[in-house]
Structures are given as structure tokens and as C-alpha cells.
Amino acid sequence: MSDFETVAASELHTATRGPAGEPDAPGQPHTMESKPRSATADAWRELRRKPLFWAATLVALVAVVMAAFPSLFTSADPESCALSRRLAGPSAVAIFGYDVQGCDVFAQAVYGTKNSLLIGVFAALLAGLIALLFGVTAGYFGRWWDAIVSRVIDIVLGLPLLLAGIVFMQRVTNAGGGPTIRIIALIFILGLLGWTTAARVMRSSVITAKQQDYVQAARMLGASPGRIMARHILPNAIAPFIVIITMALGSFIAAEATLSFLGVGLVPPSQSWGVEISEARLYMREDFVPLAVPATFLALTVLAFIILGDTIREAFDPKLR
């Protein structure tokens, strides 16, 4: 995930900055040369004028609101299903019609957002936390601790995420885990397997930052390792980390859908996009709308987070300006 260095939309959009471009709006003082801007402010200026960034933010926000308040988007109950409505076409009540069980396709997809997003967000937080802890300490202390962490990363990388996820989740199934346990298990599995890339990035940026003069100065002034790491190294190494975690969030949502699709992630009656796709696939010859709706929701959400990460990375990368 981390490897694709893209030179995407930045050139695309700098050209579109016409006379109507908003950076120097009337009434706003022209601060460009008067004060040196920080890297974050610079990146924010860059980000602000990209339509792609705003589109991705919008989709991500809609997904979050949908997860928190699904009833805002649909008044139908996703669990009220009637076989008499089997595969009924779109109507004013159900805009995408009904699936093979007679459940509202749109309502199911809306209510599926919660589990998919919940797992993605918490798995990304967990992965980020582990990556931060191991990456920063390995980079800062080096020596034997670095050697151990690097070997652990090698081992975890040796287990493909999906493969290990299937084996782990099969164990949870055997142990008879209920819906809540499955969600927690998915969060832990994805988090515990998905932290390696971020940790590597963190480690190398800490190693670079460690050599800087201001870190040496802080050390000579007697700052403790904890303070140096938190106050001096971390703020300067955090940008690539945020990018990777944002993208990991997208790929975790995709991984949850894949595991559910294979029947080892969430299982019905739990709702998630993966579950819906896997059920709708069985009768897609008859009616493909029940497959297309959750598939679109899933693809849009994953895309939004990946684009978000991509545009933030471009904004932070001065080489691409």
C-alpha cells in the first residue's frame, strides 16, 4: 500500500488556478511573505484548493454520519423483510427495490455502514498505536530493540493479511463467537496484522529525525528520551504516518468485506457490506441491483479514504510542488 508514490493530481489542479482562485481573497491580509509558514500550514494551503480532497472528505463524512445515524438516510427497517416483496423493483418506499428475502436493499446497505466503518476505524487506530509504539522506539533506541522489532515485522509481513485473517477468524467461529465478539475479533486481527508498513515508515523517519541538530540540542539540554520523542521527533515524522494510517483504514474496510464475503468475517444477521455482497452474488443472474448497491457503497468509502491519504501525501511532499 505504502509503496505507490504518485505524482497524481497536484499538477492537474495547479493549472486550474485562475484569477478567481481564492488564496488571496479580498479583505484577507496578504500574509504570504510576511511570516514563515509551517509545513502543516503549507500542506493545508495546498490541500484546500483541491476538489478531489473535498470530494473525498465529503464521502468520508457522509459515511461517518451514516454509520452513526442510519435513520437519517432511510426510514425503512432493514430487518423487516417479507417474501411477498421478493426481488420487487424500485419504488417510492425502497429506491433500489428489494432483495431475494424481500428486504429493502438501500436500507440494508445504509445500516451495513456502521459495522464496516466501526471495524475499519478501530482497526486503524489499533494498528496506528502499535506502529507508533514500536516504530518510534525501534528507531530511537536502535540496537537490540530495533533488531527484535524488525524481525517481528518480518514475521508479521510473512503472513498475508487475508490468509492469516481467515485462519484466525475460523478459530473464532469454532469458539462460537457471537456478533459482538466477531466485531472485536476482526478489529484485533486486522490491527495486529496491519501495523507493519506504518511501523517501518515511522522507524525510518525517526532515524532521519534523530540526526537533526535540534534533537541533538534537546538532548544536550538534558531532555529525557520520552520528551525528545514526543515533543521533537514525533511532530516532524508524523505526516507520512497519518497518510499510511488513512490508507490502511480504507484497506481494513475492504479486508473486513473480503472476510465477510468468504463467510469468516461477520455473518448474518450482522449487517455489513461484505455480507450483503456475498448473499447478493448468489442470485445476481436474476437481479444485480442488490449486488451493485452495497458494492458501490463499499467502493466509494474505500476510495474516499485512499484518495484522502493520497492527496494529503502530495500536499506534504514538497518535491511534487
Binding site: A8, R151, N174, V264, F288, V302
Partner: protein
């Protein structure tokens, strides 16, 4: 070179032992009795049960069993699945199928991804460049669980160009699952090629070559391409592991009898020895691919020396 190779091999052995140990422990640390799983719902005859337990070594402590498994592996013996079939036989049957899919996928990645990346880099900012960038972004965002069923729906049912499910031995029917498997890495490969090509196009040696009056084809095909290949080769090596995992979904959707298909079936039927065997093979492939990639660096770039 030799020292580097030894160090890498030692590292590989560590990773291999640790990953197989994790999978082995997971498969046997389970509430389900493997003998009962084999018999299904039927009650098991105690004599039979005792015989099976000794046959599969289930009465020995865990570490001993793992040790026996490892030594068996070193002799090229993956053991026996719970159905009594030799795992070597199952692997020999399903691995070539997955390998065919993987070859189609990698070829798709190289032919489409790398070529498109090069064209995009040469014509930077043009229509081709911008449209492929948007297109690849969309492809990266679509998970294989969406791509595989939707492609099956579009290209086998709505437009019957390809068979819906793969037939044994028919390379044509493997084409669509293979392309889908490769589609995800096409996007990444294209962006990677474009980025590294663009960077190298600005370098001094390209300017020198150009001012010497070399034809453009030679500059692009020999000078830039070779120098841009390193990140692409790295990506392809790492991607092989992801490909094997992605094969589980693609093979399931298109009913291809490959490693992924066998693996999901073995998981459903609780066939622990078969799961461990198949995962071991996949991990070995992944590790060897990464080793080859590391060694290829020196071939591609003679400036890289291993100490």
C-alpha cells in the same frame, strides 16, 4: 555476496519457522476434535478413534508434533490431510492452476501497468496521463470482493465473452480470473512506473545521453527503463504474496480448483493438516519471491553490492 546470502537465508528461516508455528498453533488450538470433524455428525467408534489419534500423532505433546511437522517439511513431506490424501498430491494438483492464474496476473500487470506508466510518464500532463491517473485511483479503491463478482456479472453473463466458471485445463477460461487478479496491481504498478520514470527522466545521465545525440528509443528503452525497474521489481515481488491471498476470492468466485480454493475448503471442513500445509507453501513462495527480488537488484543496478 556470500555473507549477504547467508544472512538473508537465516532471516528467511526465522520468518518461516515463526509463521508456520503461528498457523500450526492456531489450527490445533481449537475446541473442535479433529477426529470428530473428520467423521462429521456420526458418532466415532472408540477403536477407530484411538487408531486415528495414533496415526496422526494427536496423542503427542504440541511441540513434538510441530517438530515432526517441520522435519517432515525439510524432507519435502507435507504429511497427510484428514481425508487421508497426501498433501503433496493436493499441492501438486492445485499449485500449477494457481501458478497459471498468477502468471496471467503478473503478465497483465507488466504489460498493461508498466506500459501505461511509461507512456504516461513520457506524455506527462496529457489526456492519457490524466485519465489513467483517475482510472487507476478508482481501480485501487475497488476491493477484489467487488471487482470479481461485478466482472463475472458483466463479462460472463451480460456479455458472454468468457465462461462463467473455469474449466479444468482450459487456459482461456483462466483468462478473466487472472486478469482480475492482476487488475489490482496494474493500478499500483502503473503509478509506480510513472513516478520512477518521471524522476529518472530528469536525471543527469539522461541529459548526457540526449546531448550525445542518442535516439530517443534507446534513451527510454535502455537508459531510463533499466534504472526505473528497481521499485517495480520490488513491488512485483511483494505483490506475489498478496496475489496468492487474493486468489482465495477470485478462485472461489470463478470456481478455479487452485490453492486458494483448496484452502477455503480445508478451512470449512476443519482439515488442520491441509490448512497448515497450504499456508506453508504460500509462505515459502512469498519468501523465495522476496529473496529473488533482492538478488535481482544487483543484476538491474550494478552499483548495488552486497556485503
Amino acid at each position: 555476496m556470500f555473507r549477504y546470502l547467508v544472512r538473508r537465508l537465516l532471516q528467511m528461516i526465522l520468518v518461516f519457522v515463526a509463521t508456520t508455528f503461528i498457523v500450526y498453533a492456531l489450527m490445533y488450538w481449537t475446541s473442535v476434535d479433529p477426529v470428530q470433524a473428520l467423521a462429521g455428525e456420526r458418532p466415532v467408534n472408540p477403536t477407530q478413534k484411538a487408531q486415528l489419534i495414533t496415526e496422526y500423532g494427536l496423542d503427542q505433546p504440541f511441540i513434538v508434533r510441530y517438530w515432526n511437522y517441520l522435519t517432515g517439511l525439510l524432507q519435502g513431506n507435507f504429511g497427510k490431510s484428514l481425508t487421508g490424501r497426501s498433501i503433496n498430491e493436493i499441492i501438486a494438483e492445485s499449485l500449477p492452476v494457481t501458478a497459471q492464474l498468477a502468471v496471467i496476473a503478473i503478465l497483465t500487470t507488466i504489460v498493461v501497468g508498466v506500459t501505461a506508466g511509461i507512456i504516461a510518464a513520457i506524455r506527462r500532463g496529457g489526456i492519457f496521463d490524466n485519465s489513467t491517473l483517475v482510472f487507476t485511483l478508482i481501480i485501487i479503491g475497488i476491493p477484489v470482493v467487488v471487482l470479481a463478482p461485478v466482472a463475472q456479472l458483466l463479462f460472463t453473463i451480460k456479455l458472454p465473452w468468457f465462461p462463467t466458471t473455469a474449466k479444468e485445463g482450459s487456459l482461456y477460461s483462466y483468462l478473466l480470473p487472472g486478469i482480475i487478479l492482476g487488475a489490482l496491481s496494474v493500478a499500483t504498478a502503473m503509478r509506480l512506473t510513472r513516478a520512477s520514470f518521471t524522476e529518472n527522466m530528469r536525471s543527469d545521465y539522461v541529459r548526457t545521453a540526449r546531448s550525445k545525440g542518442l535516439p530517443k528509443r534507446r534513451i527510454v528503452g535502455v537508459h531510463i527503463l533499466r534504472n526505473s525497474l528497481i521499485p517495480i521489481v520490488t513491488f512485483l515481488g511483494v505483490e506475489l504474496g498478496a496475489l496468492m491471498a487474493g486468489a482465495i476470492v477470485t478462485e472461489g468466485v470463478f470456481n478455479v480448483n487452485g490453492v486458494g480454493f483448496q484452502l477455503s475448503r480445508a478451512l470449512r471442513t476443519e482439515d488442520a493438516p491441509l490448512v497448515v500445509g497450504l499456508v506453508s507453501v504460500l509462505v515459502i513462495i512469498f519468501l523465495v519471491a522476496n529473496l529473488i527480488v533482492d538478488l535481482l537488484y544487483a543484476v538491474l543496478d550494478p552499483r548495488i553490492r552486497y556485503e
